[in-house]
């Protein structure tokens, strides 16, 4: 929600490119009211191994060497493509040249240039594929090609590979949390990542009114880093259902998002 709102607001006075780097579950398009892309490019950022059963001598070297448990011993040896990371270790250890590494189309990147007045570049990892971090890198490279003053990146949840690929090299990070024990704990976890990469940041408490006392605690803990707090408004759900961006809707959330935007603008 924050990323879509900021992209729209920044685009009112400058050139924006918006990136959906939550390649596992990309939703920025939907928040911006977009369901179709002008162009979609299938990409390959990973490889997978296969074992040729005619050449395999069943020595088990690959089974022992694979660090990802991707080699299954049933009748002979086979590779579980869901677990294969494409590292090529099995090929290196195979004495019979039975392993082949093949590039796989593991995702796609869609671009919508027309509808919003600014380009949206959105990535999608195909379910069951690996290489989400590399799709994020490719997506950001494609987004850089558009002239822009501000690039807005929507990252995935968590602190793993796609998140790290999303926050590296950013000038500023907005950490969105909610006043629940989970929200507060996870805020601490993402903070370690942001600090590791030495990225300046601000904090937004979403749905602050579902637990005002914990919200207060997070606000105090955030101190000067607090950018604002957003109330819970069930009308936000209606605006998602109608594919209407929150900044264009009449919700209690809208005015708070505007205040947060002003604060971020003055900091950057």
């Amino acid at each position: 929600m924050m990323a879509s709102s900021l992209a729209i607001l920044f685009s009112e006075n400058g050139r924006v490119v918006a990136c959906d780097c939550d390649v596992d579950a990309p939703n920025l398009g939907l928040w911006l009211g977009i369901t179709e892309y002008d162009s979609t490019k299938r990409i390959s950022t990973s490889e997978k191994a296969t074992i040729n059963p005619d050449k395999c001598v069943e020595c088990g070297e690959c089974f022992e060497a694979c660090q990802f448990g991707a080699i299954e011993r049933t009748r002979g040896f086979t590779i579980n493509p869901l677990l294969c990371e494409g590292c090529g270790v099995c090929q290196l250890v195979c004495p019979a040249d039975a392993v082949e590494l093949k590039k796989v189309m593991n995702g796609e990147i869609g671009i919508n240039e027309k509808k919003l007045g600014f380009p949206l570049v959105s990535g999608q990892l195909y379910p069951g594929e690996t290489g989400s971090g590399k799709i994020v890198q490719e997506l950001r490279r494609m987004a850089e090609e558009f002239d822009h003053d501000v690039m807005i990146i929507d990252s995935a949840a968590g602190i793993g590979c796609p998140v790290i690929a999303s926050v590296t090299g950013c000038d500023y990070a907005i950490l969105v949390t909610e006043p629940t024990p989970s929200g507060f704990t996870d805020l601490g976890r993402i903070l370690e990542i942001v600090n590791h990469f030495q990225i300046p940041f601000g904090i937004v408490v979403n749905k602050w009114d579902i637990n005002p006392s914990l919200s207060k605690k997070i606000e105090n803990w955030s101190g000067e880093r607090l950018l604002g707090k957003i109330p819970y408004d069930r009308k936000v759900v209606d605006s998602i259902v109608n594919l209407k961006p929150v900044v264009y809707s009449d919700t209690e959330v809208t005015s708070e998002v505007l205040k947060i935007f002003e604060k971020i603008k003055n900091q950057s």
Partner: protein, 272 residues
């Protein structure tokens, strides 16, 4: 072994997993809950537990013995993660932030100058809540991007525990998304609950996770959280496209939101 998953963050995967284990354990079943969202584990908070006494989870990383290095650069050529940088006549430099621990470099090194070294990747915790309910929590070390193997290890520990105590159920709570850490969590599960919400976002992301679950050939059911808000039409379409029924509906309730944020979900078990 049953999974609670859902693609999208914040749909209620953990809430559902916790309600499910509370319900089963109240019925007298022996249950182990395994929190496989190792990047941001939350089940212990929802169950009002503290996690203490961490047990380490290691991964293997390369370590170079410069005295043995012949400066050939083969290690750099085989690394698919670009984690080994080499210039002629110099020993290689390792960027361990990028390393997946696959072992290609130490396998090809002609002079055994690279050896695998155990490195802390994360930790796991075991809580026994009562005579019927155990919780195994995995947590990755911040800064580690490859979290799939950590999930695999945490799950292995939970499966051992479930066997030791003769558990009736092992419930696995996955992280959001559809990549390696979710795949590891879903592996070998006999059933998956896909927790989603009636919005275009929920519909979109549940279709992605259902695609993965179909590939993995795991029987699935849809849990529709906040079932009375938004518009359920799209989720119903996806349910019929994938041939997966919506078997559980949890209506929106302020009470549930409050009990979640206060760690008192046991009061809400009747919702499922």
């Amino acid at each position: 072994m049953i999974a609670s998953t859902g693609g999208k963050g914040g749909t209620g995967k953990s809430t559902f997993a916790v309600l499910l284990v509370l319900k089963l354990s109240n019925e007298g079943k022996k249950v182990v809950l395994c929190d496989c969202d190792v990047e941001c584990p939350n089940d212990y908070l929802l169950l009002n537990q503290e996690i203490v006494d961490p047990k380490p989870i290691y991964r293997k990383l390369p370590e170079l013995d410069e005295a043995k290095c012949v400066k050939c650069g083969i290690c750099s050529r085989v690394c698919k993660e670009n984690a080994v940088f080499w210039v002629k006549e110099k020993p290689p430099m390792f960027f361990l932030d990028l390393c997946s621990g696959c072992g290609a470099c130490w396998i090809v090194c002609p002079n055994d100058a690279i050896k695998p070294k155990e490195d802390l990747a994360g930790e796991f915790f075991v809580n026994q809540l009562n005579s019927n309910l155990w919780l195994v929590t995995g947590r990755s070390k911040p800064g580690i991007s490859e979290t799939g193997p950590i999930v695999g290890e945490v799950k292995r520990r939970a499966m051992e525990l479930a066997k030791d105590i003769n558990a009736d159920y092992l419930i696995v709570d996955t992280s959001p998304g559809t990549h390696c850490n979710v795949i590891q969590a879903l592996l070998n599960c006999e059933k998956a609950y896909v927790v989603t919400e009636p919005t275009p976002l929920g519909a979109h992301d549940s279709a992605l996770i259902l695609e993965l679950i179909k590939k993995m050939q795991i029987p699935a059911e849809i849990v529709l959280n906040k079932s009375d808000v938004g518009d359920r039409k799209q989720v119903e379409e996806i349910s019929s496209n994938f041939g997966v029924s919506i078997t559980i509906e949890i209506p929106y309730s302020d009470e549930l939101v409050r009990s979640y944020s206060e760690g008192k979900l046991e009061e809400m078990v009747d919702l499922i």
